[in-house]
Every structure is written in structure tokens, then in C-alpha cells.
Symmetry: C2
Subunit: 352 residues, 2 copies
């Protein structure tokens, strides 16, 4: 169980779980930090869970499809950023909670639409909403959660947050659009890769950290630092996500990789390997043209090519996490700032 | 060319076109009213067209998919309602224009998502955006136009309009969800039919009229009347739309009807005919189970059954238009109110 999973479960066992993750890996200092973070966040994340529970349930198909996803939990890392950023300022109040709920709803809305677009069958270890309730319900459920999120932000009435969120969602959509242009191609540039993850992943982290700071009453300069922290954290998070395709509990199969290629999703290590070896370009072309039977073998061959560059992706993730930490320097000391530091450190250590 | 089409084309020939539509049908009084309305609206609708033109163009796939739809024009009846309602008050200013653009963008967003959900191939007499740019681009294009619309409303900063629009969009989504439950069924109740059209069609007309009134500085009571006008107008509009499936230039084919049934779209005349004759229930069941070859014949048989009830649908549309007119009574006299009256009258006379 990762830090994030453990925190989301809340309850009394959270500290034990958190410690055991780190103790296994001999990270004593991080283990202590995580224990403190757990104590700090248990109550906050319970408030977020309550807030998500207030999204109206009902027999409508869009509601059932929405709660099908929300009830699976997920990491809730974005609301955690809102809570911690608000604690850098005056604290996590009712308005901060609304912003934290909203950021998770926006994230859920994008997952619902992504699964329709990518024909995804699994999400958070269960059948995707679109597989249970259909594509149509999943499109409208995404629309609904987006509207619910905007209503929360509107209701919280924290300066800047609504206009910024609308602009951030536009960035996310443009990044999705850029990714669509890469479908079935293996020549995506590293620059386009970063454009896509800046929009698809980092943008919402940016908003979460900035909005949290605002709800804590912080000034423009402090909020700008929090926003920059969020940008770096988001990139680090995505790079590690990419890495876990090759190393983690849920490391990908030949079928997954084939699907990713069809959808234009070339991960960072794969791009590095491609640029390092013409053999990878050949293998990717073969995989794209392959029948189902050949995919496992091609995947094996690709994994062997990718393994040597994984260290480079990890190093870049660590640099991004370090850049995130650097942004925290100018902020008021205290448990909020310490918590954000721990999140950045844990992000590059996570195993799922 | 209908009133609406003519107005949308703007330009110097608008009065001639409008008059000829009505003169053909011997509606001299309405012809004169339409001529006045055309004069009043040409400039306003040009401003709306300019505003829609300011939605950023670009090479992104979501932008091309969005403009593919927007460039086809459409009736623009909802922005027309904003313009006229604002003219019941102090007039159609910059802020009113933003609201008028926004309502058209929300409408366009729903069309983009509807076409994905219904696998629609044609829209506004051209291939649907999803047929040209793909389902994925069409989902994200709908998301984008929704966000653009909300940014416009936010920027216009007219009291009430943003919160109300968010609530209205939720109503629209719930109506879509209700319709999903009727897929492949022929036992939809008349009550559910009205629930669906209240949400899918009338809700946005309600918002358009209310928001227009607000931007014209009207008080709560006047805006409530405009909102009620919009609700009745929307229902009348949809009933006539349903009628035109059986009478209009673009009357539906067996294939269209089959598709509608699969999507749970039972029109008002079809529901009336179903409740009047067990033969219709049989025919609908046969159509749903039919192969392509049999559909034209079954459609013919259904049209014969539906024809006797068309007058009832028309009568109901006229009653709704009359109810819309009644709401206008308590409002300040002037060209705005006269224009709204003409829109309601023309809505039940339109032929496409």
C-alpha cells in the first residue's frame, strides 16, 4: 500500500501502513515524515471523502456511472495538494474543502471521457463506467461531474479560482487534442510529450496547489510558488507513472502497450529508448502492425530495450521533484509546507 | 427559407426573403411582423456571428471539429431570444452579446456530444464533426465549447447568469440520461417525453430569455416572465420539430425512425399514435426488430397511422406558443416584446 492509498483509507491503521511501506525500503527519515503527514491529513481527507459523498446519488444513469467511478476511490493526490497548500496559509476550511472536492471531480470527469475516447475497459481495478453503463452514460457523466465541480468552485467563491479552473480545463482539452494527433504514430517528439503531460497532468496539479493557497489566504507571490510546485510535482508524478509501466506491480502487457501506441501514448522511457536505438523504432512498427499472438513477444523485446533508459527517466523525475521542493523554500514554514515536501519526496518513491 | 434561416443570413435581402415565405402562405400580418423583426435583428445577429467568429481558430483538432459545426450556422434561435429579451429592457449591449454567443456555444457543445452518443453521421446538412474528425475529437470539442461558453458568461458578469447556466446544463444532462433509459423501448410515457424535452430543449431557451432580460437590466418579476416565455417557446419549438419529421422538407425515412427508436427518441405524434392504436405498438416492435430492407415499408405504414394525430400535436404546439405570448403581456411594450411575440408565432408556422 502506497502513502497515497494508505492516506485515502483513513482510519486508525494509516500510520502503521505508511510506516511499513517505508520501513521495507529502509527509508527511515521518509517513514517518519509520512507518519506525520498521515496524522495531518487523515481528518482532511475524511472531509474530502464526505464532500465527494455529497455529490447527489440517484437512480439516473449518469449518477450511477459517476458514482461507479467515484466510489473506487483513487489516489486523491490532487485534493491532498489543495489541503496541504491551504495549510501553508491559514488552514483547510469549508471553502478549501469545496475546492479539494472540485479538483477530484474534474479529474474524475476527464477519466470518464478518456475511457470513452480510448475504449478503456478497466479503471481503478474494476470495469470502467463505460463498460458497465455504456459510452453515452459515460460521456454525460463526465459532463455532469465537470458541471458539479464548477458549481463547487463557484460556491466556494475564492478569488481567482473559477477563472483559473476554466483556463486549466481548456489546457487539458488542448493537450488531449495534441495527443489525438499522435494516434498510431511512433514519431512523437519529446517536446510534444512534455506539452501533453503539462496539459493533461501538471495543469490540474498547478490549479490544486494555487487554489489551496488562495483558500488559505496566501498572497500572489506565495500562490505563484505553490503553482510552480504543482507544475513540477505533476511532471514528476507522470514520469514515475510512465516508469511504473515497466517496473511496477501493474506493469503493462503487450496488449496494453499496443493500445497505448494506437492512442498516441508514448511514455517517456519509450521515447528515450526510441531515440537511442533504431531497433526500438522497428519493434514499435512491428507491434503496431502485429496480430494479438505476436504482441507478448514484441513487448518482451521492447522491455529489454527500454530497461537501460529507465534510470534516466527516474533521474528526471527526481530533478522535477527537487525543483518542486525548491519552490517551497520561500513559503512560510509549518506542517503544510512540510507535508508538500513529503508528497514530492514520496511521489518519486511510490511503487504504484 | 424560414424566418430563422433568413435572419441568420443577414444582409440586404433579408426582408425580401422573409416576406416571400409568409406571402406564399397568405400570412400577411405575420409577414409584416417578420419584416420588422428582420430589421430589428439583422445587426444583433451580425454581432452574434462576429462573437462566434472570435472563438479561437487554430490547427488543433478540437478547434477544427468545433468550427466545423459552428461554421454551418444553424438557426441561432437561442441567441435571438437573448437579443430580443435584452431589448425588452435597456437593449442588447456587449454583455448581452456575450450571453448570446454563450448560449449558442452550449447548444453546439450538446450537438457534438449527442452525435457521438447517437453515432450521428449528418448534422446541419453536412457530415457530423465526429464523422470528419472522429469521436474523440468530438467529445473534447464539446467539452471545449462548454468551457468557452462558461468563460463568456463569467466574463459578461451579469447577475445570476452563471449559476443559472450551470444548473440548466445539469438539467440538460439529466434529461439526456432519462432518454438513455428509453433506448430500444417503445413504452416511454408522455410524462417522460415532456420531462426529456423540458430538459433537453426548453431549459436552454429558459436560460436564454432570462439571461437576456437580466442583461437588459430587467427586474426579477420581468425576468421570471421571460423565463416562463422561454419554457413554453422551447416546448412549442420541439413539438413542431417532431411534427416536421412527418411533414417537412426533411421528413424522416425508415432508417431515421429506426435510429430514433434505438436511441429512445419517440416523438410526440408517435406517442399519441401509439396510445391510440395497438397496431402502432406492433409496427414499432417490428421496426425495431427489422432488417434494413423492411424499414421503408414499415415506415410507410407508421406514417399512415401517425397522420391522423398530427393535428393534435400541432394544436398543443399552438397552445404552448399562446402560453408563451401570455407571459409577454406583463412586460414593457416595444420592439423587444414585439419581436418575441413574432418568434413565438413564427415557431409554429415554420416549415423546417
Amino acid at each position: 500500500m502506497s502513502l497515497i492509498e494508505a492516506v485515502r483509507h483513513g482510519g486508525t491503521d494509516v500510520l502503521t501502513s505508511l510506516r511499513s511501506v517505508c520501513d521495507d525500503r529502509g527509508l527511515d527519515a521518509l517513514s517518519r515524515r509520512l507518519a506525520e503527514l498521515g496524522e495531518l491529513l487523515v481528518a482532511d481527507m475524511r472531509l474530502v471523502a464526505e464532500g465527494l459523498g455529497e455529490v447527489p446519488r440517484g437512480e439516473r444513469r449518469v449518477q450511477r456511472a459517476s458514482h461507479h467511478l467515484l466510489d473506487r476511490g483513487g489516489k486523491r493526490l490532487r485534493p491532498m495538494c489543495v489541503a496541504l497548500a491551504s495549510r501553508v496559509g491559514a488552514g483547510f476550511d469549508r471553502r478549501g474543502r469545496e475546492l479539494a472536492v472540485a479538483v477530484e471531480l474534474v479529474h474524475a470527469a476527464t477519466l470518464l471521457h478518456d475511457d470513452v475516447v480510448d475504449l478503456g475497459d478497466q479503471r481503478r481495478g474494476a470495469p470502467a463506467a463505460r463498460a458497465v453503463y455504456g459510452n453515452a452514460a459515460s460521456v454525460f457523466a463526465g459532463d455532469w461531474l465537470l458541471i458539479e465541480a464548477l458549481r463547487r468552485v463557484r460556491g466556494a467563491d475564492v478569488a481567482d479560482t473559477l477563472d483559473r479552473l476554466l483556463a486549466i480545463i481548456e489546457e487539458m482539452i488542448f493537450a488531449e487534442s495534441l495527443q489525438l494527433d499522435s494516434r498510431g504514430r511512433v514519431d512523437t517528439s519529446i517536446e510534444d510529450y512534455f506539452r501533453v503531460i503539462d496539459g493533461k497532468t501538471a495543469a490540474l496539479f498547478r490549479w490544486a496547489c494555487h487554489a489551496g493557497g488562495r483558500s488559505g489566504g496566501l498572497d500572489d507571490a506565495a500562490c505563484a510558488r505553490l503553482e510552480a510546485y504543482g507544475a513540477h510535482l505533476g511532471v514528476a508524478f507522470q514520469l514515475i507513472d510512465d516508469l511504473l509501466d515497466y517496473t511496477g506491480d501493474s506493469s503493462k502487457t503487450g496488449k496494453d502497450l499496443y493500445t497505448d501506441l494506437r492512442e498516441g501514448k508514448l511514455t517517456h522511457p519509450l521515447l528515450l529508448a526510441r531515440d537511442a536505438s533504431p531497433r526500438v523504432v522497428e519493434l514499435l512498427g512491428e507491434l503496431l502492425a502485429s496480430g494479438e499472438g505476436a504482441r507478448a513477444g514484441l513487448h518482451q523485446a521492447l522491455v529489454a530495450e527500454v530497461r537501460p533508459v529507465l534510470g534516466e527517466t527516474r533521474a528526471l523525475a527526481i530533478r522535477e521533484a527537487a525543483a518542486a521542493l525548491a519552490e517551497l523554500e520561500g513559503l512560510p514554514e509549518g506542517p503544510g509546507r512540510d507535508g508538500l515536501r513529503t508528497v514530492a519526496l514520496a511521489t518519486v518513491e511510490r511503487e504504484r
